[in-house]
Symmetry: C2
Subunit: 102 residues, 2 copies
Amino acid sequence: MKRSLEHITYGKDTEALAKFAKALGHPTRIAILKHLENQSCCFTGDLVDVFPLAQSTISQHLKELKNAGLIQGELKPPKIKYCINQENWQTAKTMFKDFFER
Amino acid sequence: MKRSLEHITYGKDTEALAKFAKALGHPTRIAILKHLENQSCCFTGDLVDVFPLAQSTISQHLKELKNAGLIQGELKPPKIKYCINQENWQTAKTMFKDFFER
DNA sequence: AAAACCTATCGTATATTTGCGATAAGAAAT
DNA sequence: ATTTCTTATCGCAAATATACGATAGGTTTT
């Protein structure tokens, strides 16, 4: 890349929406979230059993969802319970809604 | 990648939602769509003037949005008028809404 | 203390995305 | 017919994403 351009920035809302969308832009992550919607919460191991993916791969997807703020992990030794981050979930919901409503 | 796994497939809706989300997962594409929402339609050249990106880059983003079905191009020689694809827009809107509603 | 269990992280390989300039392709105007 | 205008596509380079196995880190159990 010859990105000499000084890193274009957009409005805060534009960046935020793109970030959420990016996190949702992989079928595995959608599936994980749908699973979380049903269970409300679950452990990493549960997902490893459900999906034909390596444990490290699942962990990586969870990390991205966490970075995007869509989920959060609660230490439940020796496991980690992942839940949907309600606050950010609502934010994302509203942002998508407003975006599509025009 | 050692993707020996025979290409995991998910439910149709999961794949479709991920595809929409992926297309939305870049700030430039969000910005383009927001622009289209205001103007309802516009030409490639308009966008080249608005964004500090090469014409080829804009064209590529438009291509991805078109592939995702979010926009459509109408031949208006010698230009091409891009508009939001109303039908798919509604589909996407509903899919995101249903996804976030739980 | 050692073993077992669960999850994150590292290192690596490959695929995809993003961006650019250059060029091609099409129609309109001269 | 040539030039001009507009957009798409090609070829390339760099960054990012995706996936895996191996390993590390932390707790609990034995």
